[in-house]
Symmetry: C2
Subunit: 357 residues, 2 copies
């Protein structure tokens, strides 16, 4: 079927060794021979199988990428960063998604290891309590986490706690007092916890009372009535929502709009992630922005850096070990979904019935 080096050798009238050399060390072979071999290669449309090479102990130049989902552009943005560097450096990417499911995470890592990837870039639900990552450590399998915010493992992320803290402080600076945090169903993730912690700290520092994060079913077409109620009615209804990610913010805004709420007039909204698309919205979505693409690039560099440093000597690696986790700076996109409390139509509790007028 696909021609092998043998076919080429036969066609050219030389040995397979010569063909191999013609490919890998052209200068060591007689120009005339070289030319003949090249013609045979073209004639048969031969391409060397990486199998043989890898089998010989060469590097696979294959990196595994494990992401929760591509439905959230956050991960697509990271992947873009990774992909760009990978193709520039001649690496191949093997991609698996997990839908935030622990079993699928396990399976993905397992599968990729079988494929003999040289390293893994992954985003898992919870990095700290993940036995699989311990396995990787034990087996000396190189990996870098993206977005997972932990100091215990090699990772690249923003400081989720601080970022959330800064975001909520901004809301407070705009005069908001009743600020509620909304989280997706995967409230168990390490970053969700840290974001909530940041929220709590910002609230407490301002002398405000933080609330537990309200869980929202991400995929539902409508906001649950009880949730909507919680957001839109009562004397203590929130004036601002801090959403644990941008997609959630968009879903929530749609729900509020259907209830005749306007943003930011009736409710201020702050997201998290800094999706590029958020700037295209109307009004542009305020967000605590992570440099997603750059996170992908940084994860790549760290992985490849460690990969390369394996070769010569390991002490170099040990030197870098202290700074296992890399924290990239976040930014605040103030957007237009945040209003100062004084500008908000629905700020005073007694106007809340408006939404059901």
């Amino acid at each position: 079927m696909t021609p092998t080096i043998k076919d080429v050798a036969a066609h050219a009238g030389f040995s397979i060794a010569t063909v191999s050399r013609a490919i890998n060390a052209p200068h060591t072979v007689n120009p005339v021979t070289l030319e003949k071999v090249r013609q045979s290669i073209d004639a048969l449309n031969f391409r060397p199988s990486p199998l043989g090479r890898q089998l010989r102990g060469e590097r696979s130049r294959l990196i595994g990428v494990v992401l929760p989902t591509l439905a959230n552009p956050v991960f697509a943005e990271c992947l873009q960063g990774i992909d760009e560097l990978a193709s520039a450096q001649g690496y191949r990417l093997m991609l698996m998604t997990t839908q935030y499911d622990a079993e699928r995470e396990r399976h993905a890592i397992e599968t990729l290891r079988e494929q003999r990837v040289e390293g893994l870039i992954l985003t898992v639900a919870d990095a700290d309590t993940h036995p699989l990552l311990d396995d990787l450590d034990r087996d000396g399998m190189l990996y870098v986490l993206m977005h997972n915010d932990t100091v215990r493992r090699p990772s690249v992320s923003v400081d989720n706690r601080l970022a959330a803290y800064d975001g909520v402080r901004m809301l407070i600076a705009h005069g908001h007092r009743r600020i509620l945090m909304l989280a997706g169903t995967l409230a168990a993730s390490d970053r969700a916890r840290l974001r909530h912690l940041g929220y709590v700290q910002a609230m407490q520092q301002a002398g405000l009372t933080p609330a537990p994060a309200l869980e929202i079913d991400f995929n539902a077409d409508e906001l649950a009535p009880s949730v909507l109620n919680h957001l839109t009615t009562g004397p203590n209804r929130p004036t601002a929502l801090f959403c644990s990610n941008d997609l959630l913010a968009m879903v929530v805004m749609r729900g509020l709009r259907r209830a005749r709420f306007e943003m930011p007039g009736d409710m201020s909204i702050l997201g998290f992630d800094g999706l590029a698309m958020g700037e295209l919205l109307s009004p542009p979505l305020a967000s605590v922005c992570a440099p997603n693409r750059e996170i992908g690039c940084a994860a790549w560099r760290r992985l490849i850096g460690r990969l390369d440093s394996m070769k010569p000597a390991d002490f170099d690696d040990a030197l870098r070990a202290p700074s296992l986790s890399l924290t990239l700076p976040h930014t605040l996109r103030e957007g237009a979904t945040i209003a100062a409390i004084s500008d908000m139509a629905g700020a005073s509790p007694n106007r809340n019935a408006r939404s059901f007028a």
Copy 2:
């Protein structure tokens, strides 16, 4: 480094053949032996290398995916569909992006073939005039195109001409007469051409004069002043824009908003693609929707179907050949970015100065 079957054999005190059998045909080996081998496997943390297997002529269970970019969620949505089926069926995906660049397309296909993928799923800029696809045909390499709208090659897409036609007819039905089509910089793609053709046909059938597609620089932060001028001023300024994709529609809307245009009051907007995210916008984006996820799934099924049908006999394959390209139904999402002409504030030419008031 990584343990091989030999290590396991040595550890267990059996031959490598027995170990291999223990893995691939457990029932053919003595339970006691089996148990010992299993313990050794666990102890050494052994996983069979796919290299050896593939080398033995086994299937690689590897599929290559080539996409223009992940920055446009259209492709991320397709990839989701593919990924779902792939992981369910035990296949691995190797992903490469091309940024719509012909050279990168070439390189991606080349690379993936070297990796011995069993088949390719790809979206290329222009399917009809693509020598690489001819190579694939010649070499019997299985592939399926996604979104590329051609009858000459195996493909899955919507009927881009008809879909555009239907979309523009809808605009006309809402009373619009001056409808302009906007296209991204890759106006050269097969689908962009077909979409424009559909636009032309719908216009002509209604006795209206179609215009050439106006090219927009997708990535620029602002609309070019000349473009903005074209859209917003003059007695013949358009009342509706048909954008060749949703992302472009969003960029254009942002540009118009900055010029104090409101959608749909001052301008109706129709996109193409049906991004899931479009429904989260305010107002929800009207769009000619392709079932992106389903396109990915269908492409997968066709590829695997043809892969499987290779095994027994090839005439089966010939039977299916007539229906090379699969056309999936499109839908119209009327959204709220389209207003009937009678409801539009800016409909009468003499109101156009409003935008610069």
